[in-house]
């Protein structure tokens, strides 16, 4: 019988985080390149190409240019992608092909610490990418400060939420090709229907209900409000949801990885 509780956790997860940082710094240029150029690409395509067709979008009583509408969504998507892909493909490669976790488990690290280090690292990647992207978007005058700075801690929280759920898939899916499935069923629908490129109010009611369950919907709402410098206590619901989501999926990630790796 494997022991389920309590979790074997200490500050040592930082060691795993540091290991990933060493690797990240080796190819930092590539890592910086994507969040630097991606928003330019999107803003060019949607902002210039599509905004002529769309015109303005009304959001909470304000008329927004289409660029101003989607820029915060790009930040939210970056948060989701960085953590989710780090803790699915990259973690899977380390676990399955490189046997990095096996090597770590011959040192004073516990599996819970290894996985926690991986998830915190995924959130850190979200944070770094978001910071770079935020700087780029700010150049276009699309972010109000100081409110916009709150997007940084939000990126970390969102990173933990999406990284944890990614890690649950890493702990359960038998092969790396199978990640197409959660991406198709989970990531792509969120990418499209979380109020990212159009408001969800226009959608059928049942889709709206579904969208409320998506963590990305809450993340987009939060980044959009913060970029526009709009505060309100109702934003706490979104933060609470992301917390709750992490609180469910982070322990689940530890459990599935234990089941997978500890024999």
């Amino acid at each position: 019988m494997t022991k389920v509780l309590p979790f074997n956790l200490s500050w040592r997860f930082v060691r795993v985080w540091q290991r990933n940082l060493v690797v990240y710094r080796r190819i930092w240029l590539v890592n910086f390149f994507v969040p630097l150029l991606e928003p330019l690409l999107y803003l060019a395509a949607f902002g210039i190409g599509l905004s002529a067709l769309v015109g303005t979008i009304s959001f909470e009583g304000r008329e927004l240019s289409y660029t101003a509408f989607i820029a915060p969504a790009l930040l939210a998507i970056t948060i989701m992608y960085n953590a989710f892909f780090e803790n699915t493909y990259a973690s899977f490669v380390r676990m399955y092909y490189q046997k990095t976790f096996d090597a770590m488990l011959a040192t004073p690290l516990s599996l819970d610490e290894v996985i926690t280090g991986e998830i915190i690292w995924g959130a850190t990647k979200s944070l770094i990418a978001t910071a770079i992207m935020l700087a780029v978007i700010s150049l276009f005058g699309l972010v109000r400060y100081p409110h916009g700075l709150l997007i940084l801690p939000l990126a970390f929280l969102g990173g933990i939420a999406f990284g944890s759920v990614g890690m649950v898939f890493t702990g359960t899916l038998p092969s790396i090709d199978m990640f197409n499935l959660p991406i198709f069923l989970f990531i792509s629908p969120m990418f499209l229907f979380s109020g990212t490129f159009f408001p969800i109010d226009g959608l059928p009611v049942w889709v709206q209900h579904l969208a409320i369950a998506f963590p990305l919907t809450h993340l987009v709402t939060l980044t959009r409000h913060l970029c526009l410098g709009m505060f309100g206590t109702h934003l706490l619901w979104g933060v609470g949801y992301l917390f709750l989501f992490s609180l469910v999926f982070y322990p689940l990630a530890l459990l599935t990885m234990r089941k997978r790796l500890i024999h």
Binding site: T2, K3, R12, R15, Q18, R19, V22, V23, R26, Q98, K99, T100, D102, A103, M104, L105, A106, T107, P108, L109, S110, I262, H263
Partner: protein, 334 residues
């Protein structure tokens, strides 16, 4: 609570880690006589019993070899020994510390070479060692010193800034060994350290291990290579089907289970086969050969050659491989 009092109240794990630290730095002998003490160790995967109730020990400064065919339970045993796999039953003490409660403290004192080359392909040789040192709380500066010393030890200092993916199999194996030594372990655990290496690399690794042995490091290794077991190990355990079949010194096992001189006869005649049977000698009757194990002074070769042998007789020393095959059988294990 005043901070001082608060500071000296330690958890059990911290205590154990502290004891190891103190022993090492005060150069005190470890009061535990056994580096490893396993009692009725059992490992079960569902219905399948990989390790059945085995008991053994490893003395300080000893090199203990674990032999057995594939699926005998060697790796399962070793994985319990460094706290990778939880044990299903029994007790296990390493450095006198109970594995169930003190696994973390134990791991501070162990170096492990796992079966796969699981070096970090994203990193250079030196970074591999430095990153690993951090897992053991070794400060950056002394990690660098240790890494440099170990790279000299494995004769790879000129490759330290290369990515590990550019190294040959033998070099990687040596880096894995160096990595396992980064924490100055008291016990080195090696799971098939030379499998898949060419003879040159194998001998390189053996020489390094002999050097470590002469420095008094306690070593536990599994292997399929009988030369390796005989050359490196003070004592051997032969396992099969999760059980310990025999344990003892290599020379003693050979004398006991394969005798001294061996006569192998290729394509023996039926009369010869029945003759050997009638003599009541220790022997194995195979499809195309008969192997006779002679005891000291019984002059079997002289007895055999005159009557039955032409050029199909070979006389040789009994080896560990004879012992191994006699005890674990000759059927294929897959």
């Amino acid at each position: 609570m005043p901070p001082l009092v608060h500071d000296i109240i330690l958890t059990r794990q911290q205590c154990a880690a502290w004891i190891i630290f103190w022993r090492k730095h005060a150069a005190m002998p470890n009061p535990a006589r056994y580096i490893v003490e396993a009692r009725n160790l059992t490992k079960q995967f569902g219905e399948f019993v990989a390790v059945r109730n085995i008991s053994f020990h490893l003395l300080r400064g000893e090199c203990l070899g674990l032999l057995g065919p594939n699926g005998a339970g060697k790796t399962s045993t070793i994985r319990m020994l460094y706290g990778f796999s939880p044990m299903t039953g029994g007790t296990l003490r390493v450095f006198g510390i109970d594995m169930r409660t003190g696994w973390r403290a134990i791991r501070f004192g162990i170096g492990v070479c796992q079966q796969e080359n699981n070096l970090d392909p994203d990193l250079t040789v030196l970074q591999n060692l430095e990153v690993f040192a951090r897992y053991f709380d070794i400060p950056t500066k002394s990690a660098r010193e240790k890494a440099d010393r170990l790279l000299r030890f494995i004769a790879l200092e000129n490759r330290k800034n290369d990515k590990v993916t550019t190294l040959s199999g033998g070099m990687m194996r040596r880096v894995v060994l160096a990595r396992a030594l980064i924490n100055d372990p008291e016990l080195l655990i090696l799971d098939e350290p030379t499998t898949g290496l060419d003879p040159q690399s194998r001998h390189q690794v053996w020489e390094r291990l002999e050097e470590l042995r002469s420095r008094g490091l306690s070593i536990l290794l599994t292997t399929h290579n009988m030369d390796e077991a005989e050359r490196l190990c003070d004592r051997l355990i032969i396992m099969d089907h999760g059980r310990i079949l025999v344990q003892g010194k290599p020379s003693q096992l050979i004398r006991e289970y394969a005798g001294r001189d061996v006569v192998e006869v290729v394509e023996p005649s039926p009369e010869f086969r029945s003759h050997v049977k009638s003599l009541n000698l220790m022997h194995d009757n195979l499809d195309h050969r008969i192997i006779i194990y002679g005891q000291e002074g019984d002059r079997i070769f002289e007895k055999m050659t005159g009557e039955y042998c032409r050029d199909n007789c070979i006389r040789r020393m009994a080896t560990l491989e004879d012992v191994f095959l006699r005890l674990t059988g000759r059927e294929l294990r897959e």
